[in-house]
Symmetry: D3
Subunit: 248 residues, 6 copies
Amino acid sequence: MRIKIINPNTTWSMTEKIGACARAVARPGTEVIAVSPAMGPASIESHYDEALAVPGLLQEIARGEAEGVDGYVIACFGDPGLKAARELARGPVVGIAEAAMHLASMVGSRFSVVTTLGRTMGQAWHLAEIYGMERFCANVRACELPVLELEVPGSNARERITDECRRALAEDGCDTIVLGCAGMADLCDHISGVLGVPVIDGVAAATTLIESLVTLRLATSKHGELARPLPKAMAGALAGFTLDAPQG
Amino acid sequence: MRIKIINPNTTWSMTEKIGACARAVARPGTEVIAVSPAMGPASIESHYDEALAVPGLLQEIARGEAEGVDGYVIACFGDPGLKAARELARGPVVGIAEAAMHLASMVGSRFSVVTTLGRTMGQAWHLAEIYGMERFCANVRACELPVLELEVPGSNARERITDECRRALAEDGCDTIVLGCAGMADLCDHISGVLGVPVIDGVAAATTLIESLVTLRLATSKHGELARPLPKAMAGALAGFTLDAPQG
Amino acid sequence: MRIKIINPNTTWSMTEKIGACARAVARPGTEVIAVSPAMGPASIESHYDEALAVPGLLQEIARGEAEGVDGYVIACFGDPGLKAARELARGPVVGIAEAAMHLASMVGSRFSVVTTLGRTMGQAWHLAEIYGMERFCANVRACELPVLELEVPGSNARERITDECRRALAEDGCDTIVLGCAGMADLCDHISGVLGVPVIDGVAAATTLIESLVTLRLATSKHGELARPLPKAMAGALAGFTLDAPQG
Amino acid sequence: MRIKIINPNTTWSMTEKIGACARAVARPGTEVIAVSPAMGPASIESHYDEALAVPGLLQEIARGEAEGVDGYVIACFGDPGLKAARELARGPVVGIAEAAMHLASMVGSRFSVVTTLGRTMGQAWHLAEIYGMERFCANVRACELPVLELEVPGSNARERITDECRRALAEDGCDTIVLGCAGMADLCDHISGVLGVPVIDGVAAATTLIESLVTLRLATSKHGELARPLPKAMAGALAGFTLDAPQG
Amino acid sequence: MRIKIINPNTTWSMTEKIGACARAVARPGTEVIAVSPAMGPASIESHYDEALAVPGLLQEIARGEAEGVDGYVIACFGDPGLKAARELARGPVVGIAEAAMHLASMVGSRFSVVTTLGRTMGQAWHLAEIYGMERFCANVRACELPVLELEVPGSNARERITDECRRALAEDGCDTIVLGCAGMADLCDHISGVLGVPVIDGVAAATTLIESLVTLRLATSKHGELARPLPKAMAGALAGFTLDAPQG
Amino acid sequence: MRIKIINPNTTWSMTEKIGACARAVARPGTEVIAVSPAMGPASIESHYDEALAVPGLLQEIARGEAEGVDGYVIACFGDPGLKAARELARGPVVGIAEAAMHLASMVGSRFSVVTTLGRTMGQAWHLAEIYGMERFCANVRACELPVLELEVPGSNARERITDECRRALAEDGCDTIVLGCAGMADLCDHISGVLGVPVIDGVAAATTLIESLVTLRLATSKHGELARPLPKAMAGALAGFTLDAPQG
């Protein structure tokens, strides 16, 4: 099968890391395409960044539909544009926060999320709520690390994140850790080894989930809210997003 | 004071109607600016449409900041981009679904929302939840009228909407009606007169709420989640959305 | 328009302060009537006090109906008698806790309430719940100041309250403050100035909200739970509360 | 032990029926005192009625404290004044809606409440929520019978109520019935016999619960919210409710 | 009446203590049968222990049905097998966690549970949720005492539990204590005397509740989920649990 | 990898069907072991049946641990013994209701469960709640088909289930179907083909999920509630379940 991992920010070094983490867990027969959009923010650390990441993300979904992609992963822990992407895609679409939280609820009694900047904690709680995972979420914690610092060789990001995970385990009453940024995907094994509890990276989690959904031939239901958007005019700089009426 | 009502779709006939409804309830000293964005969908009837309406909306917020606007109304019942807009604005920002639902909870025990297409009902329920208004929401009902049909003179939109409101009152255990589309703003008095219960149009409701917030000098808190977004590069067609670092 | 602010306790010095705060934000054409009831407790700090404040409050609503009042504010943070008042009034009725919490949810992501005695915190949480505002309420904090100490010139009430607000901001993960007593109405500007976040006084908030509802011609729905009470005999010391049958 | 059943309305024929139902289930050694207050409404069918029933109820609690009462039952399905009564009483206080709903949750999977007038259904749902019993409450149904019609010999109240209970069982997915008015206490056996499911009258339920609490020496906690109200002046017609400062 | 208290573990010293605590509060005419099952774990401190305690418990229910038992108490704070027991019994069945939490909600505003091992706290929270008592539960605390240490004369269990209760009262915002293990039944009076707040032992609480239900002739509803299980074959070591078809 | 699918009832024809459905979606390298326990009920249609299925299920987990099993599926829609199984297993354990509901939440906005007997609907709702999936569950519907009738060749089970799914889609506001019994696993493709929406069989869903967890090296967290049970004596017919102390 062919799956597409979309890093909704435009920092390709992160995209490559994400692609590698996805390929490390993907099945032998799975082709993993990892991309960043042609437009949007270099990193996503606010509602503003998230909103501006979505058009580029949707462009990649539309392109994927033409390329015969079987399923999509949105590889930013805010899961931006998830419902819009589901409307556009024929196959399934999974967000990495969604994937990580769901799997966390199956291997522990409660998880804590460890994320980058404090200002994004509200979004993590919001996602926990709309996925029904709030009851499993013991806490959301921030390291106050900007996303792009995770890409800087020689930064002490790994230590700071590991320390925050350790504190979560000691103080939150949780037994499982969810890493709250796609840029942390490569830290999962290290932290799990140090702490001895399940540590979940959403990129890997979503990769296996999207493979599962494709294997089960479960695609987004087109009966209702997530049906293909109605064709209509898009004005100005976004004119390229105009959808044609279905042919037939 | 100067308030800006942003109709996030690009259909200016609707924008003019919205502006008129806002001015009809605004205080004497209030200047009401009603606009549509330069980019985005002609109407908003899906998550896809909503996502693509947000960049244009944010452009209008940014422009408003330069124009000395005191407060903003987002005049689409999906309240698209509300949190991103709050990050960007110094003053308060209110969505029309938010405004209508809050006021409905103060004049009745439960309200029903009557909206356009069935596929948007999920978003109305979602907003009721995140605003804390789910406990007051008896039902969300759709007339299966496309948004732009509300703009067609001679359509039977008014009758169909009134009928749906009547059914809501008879069947839902509600005592108040919330109109679920900015394009219904001009129907509020008619339906209220016919049914004899409070019928709430979000455009008027949000106009008076934003005036209240400005009068009370209550602006969006910049302490935490809704602080101004961090400056960073935006790529491609959205490069114009790059925020500068604060000066000083 | 004519609005009536009812301080449900019988301490007129507080009533005058409340009236002044309401007038400071009211529109030019609004007549603000601020009163205390003829019966009931000197301050409200328990469920017992609250229960005994309601008859006097309802008497003032009944009187207001005869006086052509357009809308009412209940100016005690426990919002005593709100539903009974809504049954009795033709126009809208808003409580100050209700008003403050709703507006707080529009300018920040979460608020903390700072109130007087610890024994009233349960009621503040209860109101947050029934208004749907619990999800926005980060914490309720008490200064252990009796209500009437707020009226004592030279007490250090202002400092203690400001300190508690500062702690809320530092410890609760909130970005907005709600003042939990009508007697704090005059402290709002000071604390907001010191802390640099939105600080909301319910008296001012409710004043602008009731003006909004009157402007929008939104009165309490009489279709169901909040219809006028049925006429029936009242015995003993409360015989004066007997309602007549509606005349035809 | 000595327990006091307070019917908060002033209709003594109902009070006598309530007393008889309580005595029918009370233990041999229990003295049951059944009273109506000296002031307040003839029946309770609105928030207004409820508010005006509370002062008289509190007067009876105060009197009971002087009489050595061990525990109290508030015998109106709206459980008016429950928290205020708990502040005032040394021993335990239970409401009949509270008692009925709690016991219902122990003998079935879900219950429906069958009550008098539709306008009181909101209060029944409210109580279900604040007691934590909402998850067990399948439905609240009204017969549109005024409370005092239950006292009229020869009315068809029993048949109408039985029919509504039968419909509840057929349509609501419930397996247990809660009778929603103290005036229905004498119908419990009949309806249970006809329908073959548990039918719960709150008066009997509360009587056995208050006996249990007294037996277990469990009185209202005075550590916090339900501590005795602070002494303070009460003005006007309610001056008699002034509490003295504790002596000693 | 004849009630049966089933201690679902096989430690008879605890069963005797439980029986004594039940008899201390039971009515004069009540016959209390206290038993442990013939199979299962010596103590219950995990989901595994709980699961393996249920068959023996059900055997005791089946035996009780033959012995004319009127009602049952499940005397382990995890309330194992409660719904299965209700299916099997004609009369009512109450769990001690259920009983303690319900009564706690009637005498205070919030309770804390003090239990044995930390690994059982999740089950206590789970029960609070399914009984609707989560809103009253301020905290669940563990002393890290194994259950059987409560049976060791000369252990310092009483002091450790009392200390944990004291901390609960100081830190949790609760005003009532629920003891989280049947083996603590004999400590209730001591702790209550020391702390001066209601302290609730589920064994005594459930004893009076089951007496109440029997007095009120309220038995488990057989209309739906809790109807008698369908007859069917049981294989292997559990063949003795095969139910016969009802005879006609 | 080696995964074990445990059908907790003792009807081996169903076990074989379940095994076939699991193998149809399993990866090439996955060894699927499908078993029924040596003790317990022939089918599971009550809390009683469920409770008695758990010991046999746990025996199969214990055996699997000795056999080097990597992960387990509990193949009954009540997910009996899930937490006890997780305590016992080193690897992950997933229930089929859990798996189906989680995946349903990723491909649609709301699902309906279609199950066998009405008396099991309460358990389905309970699972939806504890998995956080209640918000996605539009309805639970029963066909009133006993479980073993699904095994009878020539019964009209397929038609009745398909019809109930069609009604769900028409009446419940759902866009996805979850099949509520392991015995329906072979009907999934048929119903999906007929209705054109995602139809989810928990056996297949859980098979791919357990493969995902094993691939991701995510095993049950042993830090807290789900740690291995403490060693202790088991009495009587269950003596074989005694756990040894861990060896060092």
